[in-house]
């Protein structure tokens, strides 16, 4: 299903569907269908698809209402995170620590020869970079919200790949409440989506990975009789970031933001791409049928026959999209 989400594939399906519909209808021009059969087919399909459109439109109105309510609730809550929860100093101090972690663990990953250890350090460096980018986006939004000039302080520390991710993340924020998606990603990346004790996600959180790395570093320092500063400094950074995040995480959960965002995802799917494809592939043929119906007579039957065939086939494609839409809802 995931591949079907790609716009290119959907456009291809649409083009193929339209082409097939017109080729088939063209071929049927030669075959003659009786006027009575044609009228029956037209009235039956019009009534059926009219009912479907009614049901879909009612669903849309209901979903739109839920979506608007959720968006307004999230819009009310999101500015607080920029004005109260995340101060400029806090954002900059977390970002500086994340940058230090990224640098340290990138260096560790490049010097270790054991695959498991290298994978762990690389994972930490990648996650620290991702969080760094998210904080850079938050900083940008905060500066804009407060009418302050853009410092580009964090952007200057990014390489081209990170900068591309930063630009994409920034561009993806079209509504005010979408800032909360970034904060959710930060909280989840740091502490994981946890139940009581067990991690429910297969991806380990950055905090857990850092703790594991500290255990390894301590052990290596004992074995090599080296300085204990690296493990100690990493532990210090971990505790500092954790202290900063704990307030953010607490407020985030108190405000029920994860639940609201999850409901928003549901509502977005209900009014997503497959919904509109279903709607247009049923509504357009239905409209054509409604125009044809009063003008259909024994004299015009032959003329309208290929058009009726084409609209019927397009409606069938609409039903296929309807099934895909239902499938997507059930699999969310």
């Amino acid at each position: 299903m995931s591949s079907l989400n790609k716009p290119l594939i959907i456009i291809s399906i649409l083009l193929v569907a339209v082409a097939v519909a017109f080729v088939l209808s063209w071929q049927t021009v030669a075959q003659s269908v009786g006027y009575t059969d044609l009228t029956r087919a037209l009235t039956t399909t019009t009534a059926t698809f009219g009912t479907l459109i009614g049901v879909i439109t009612a669903g849309l109105m209901f979903t739109q209402g839920a979506f608007s309510r959720l968006a307004s609730e999230l819009n009310e809550k999101s500015p607080t995170y920029l004005t109260e929860v995340l101060s400029l100093e806090k954002i900059q101090s977390i970002a500086a620590r994340l940058a230090a972690l990224r640098k340290t663990f990138t260096q560790f990953a490049s010097t270790t020869t054991v695959k498991e250890e290298r994978d762990l350090y690389t994972r930490i460096a990648i996650k620290a970079s991702d969080l760094f980018v998210d904080f850079a986006v938050i900083l940008k939004l905060k500066l804009r919200q407060q009418g302050l000039p853009d410092t580009d302080l964090l952007v200057s520390e990014m390489d081209s790949t990170l900068y591309d991710v930063y630009e994409k993340t920034r561009r993806d924020i079209k509504k005010e409440w979408q800032l909360l998606n970034i904060i959710k990603r930060i909280v989840d990346a740091w502490e994981g989506q946890t139940a009581f004790f067990l991690e429910t996600t297969s991806k380990p959180a950055l905090k857990a990975d850092l703790k594991n790395s500290i255990a390894i570093l301590k052990l290596k320092e004992k074995v090599d009789q080296g300085s204990a500063d690296i493990a100690k400094n990493t532990a210090k950074t971990l505790n500092e970031i954790d202290d900063e995040f704990s307030e953010l995480s607490k407020r985030f959960h108190e405000d029920r933001i994860p639940q609201l965002l999850s409901q928003m995802v549901q509502a977005s799917i209900l009014r997503g791409r497959y919904f509109y494809l279903t709607l247009s592939f049923i509504a357009i043929p239905l409209l054509v049928n409604l125009i044809i119906l009063p003008q259909l007579s024994q004299a015009t039957a032959t003329f309208f026959q290929p058009i009726i065939w084409a609209t019927s086939l397009l409606s069938i494609i609409g039903v296929v999209f309807l099934f895909l839409y239902i499938y997507k809802i059930l699999n969310t």
């Binding site: 498991e116 250890e117 009581f196 067990l198 703790k211 594991n212 255990a215 290596k220 004992k222 074995v223």
Partner: protein
Amino acid sequence: MKKSAEERIKRLFAEYPYPPIDVIIPILERAGRGEKELESQIYEIYCNLAKGIKEIMSLKGNNMKTLARVWEVATSAEGMKMQPLELSESKFSFSITDCPMIHVGKNVSTNVKGKFCDIVCTAGSRALMDTVLAPHKGICAWSKTLIKGTGKCAVTFELVKAK
């Protein structure tokens, strides 16, 4: 457990996390040393965990039942499933279906896994017995069947006197 006790246990395990055995074993295998250091690290972690659990759960006794209770809390906190087999004044045995050792990569041989299983279990069980019972009061044995892939691993704690 009360909610506050749950939270405290959670914090305790966050403070003394179990080391990532699946990463540590390949490192020590490559280095050819560090086993003693790993043993002492695990011993230290389990001593702190056992002390913390006793305090949070207000467990005062120095007997096998207290040890079983501490172990029960520790396994549930680590997300391990434990099936008790026997609990008496002198013996506590149980079986487990999962342990960190079976998550060690396939490229590590069964012999090496067995060697580290002994290191980890010796340190962990000794820390538990030293903290809950008293030093040199108990012994612990484990079957290593999980590593061999022949079934559940049976672990038995026994008082020295009872032998």
